[in-house]
Symmetry: C2
Subunit: 153 residues, 2 copies
């Protein structure tokens, strides 16, 4: 289970995603990690971060794109199981930090921005639907580690 192409840049000293400091890690292997995003309005918001400093999906070899998306979809499945959101939002933007990472965001009809993207101006105060972090985080972690092989550092 190693990268198909070894020419990926391993670390960029100026990139905040090349280090994993102060992250709430839910899962990792030697290819990517899944973290809990500290966003009180969106409990269950997860981010999948590639280990290597790569800018775009099409800079990855096709088999590595699939590998990364398989993790994204595993996270989507687990987030749906635990939170039962009205919709899942997936996004890879990286305009500020051009190091491949995917957002998996559970959305609820009464959340702050629904039906707009979470980057739009809020439409309302936060809804009360999502359960608190203490309930959600351990369940996401446990289900992810059941579903995907886990490689601690």
């Amino acid at each position: 289970m190693s990268l198909a192409c070894t020419q990926y840049l391993m670390k960029n000293p100026d990139c905040p995603l090349c280090q994993s400091t102060n992250e709430h890690e839910l899962w990792r292997d030697d290819f990517c990690r899944v973290i809990w995003v500290d966003e009180p309005d969106y409990p269950g918001f997860c981010r999948i971060i590639l280990s290597h400093h790569v800018r775009e999906m099409t800079d990855l070899a096709p088999q590595d794109r699939r590998r990364l998306m398989d993790v994204v979809f595993a996270v989507e499945a687990v987030v749906r199981t635990v939170l039962r959101p009205d919709k899942i939002n997936l996004a890879s933007l990286g305009n500020m930090v051009p190091h491949l990472h995917w957002h998996v965001i559970p959305r609820f009809a009464d959340d702050r921005h629904f039906p707009d993207a979470i980057w739009a101006p809020p439409r309302r105060d936060a809804g009360c639907r999502p359960p608190p972090e203490a309930d959600v985080r351990p369940r996401l972690m446990a289900l992810l580690r059941e579903r995907l092989p886990f490689y601690p550092e």
Copy 2:
């Protein structure tokens, strides 16, 4: 090249993406279509729309997720070739229309929202970098049809 699972809902009469009216189609097969998004600030913005009425990526069979992402990445590659953007943004939101579709958005450092998401409030008037639609659209169409097998209706 047919769907692995035939239980997908074919059409929902209330869904605007189940019909393909007034779209500028760049490519299609029996599984999905790629359209030009009419967004003057973002020439080269493409949308990939699944033919079937399916809500989430994890509602698709794994091989169908891969098939759809392979089209998304083919569009990304072609958009990068034609427009040479500073960054590509990929997103599948669907809060307003819960029928699977992917946005592929070429981003430029001087575009209206950079480095924010295009759903955020604009930061400036449009930049002058992107070339006009008449230059871009036929090239995207030609390159996509070179890269992917095309199935006209």
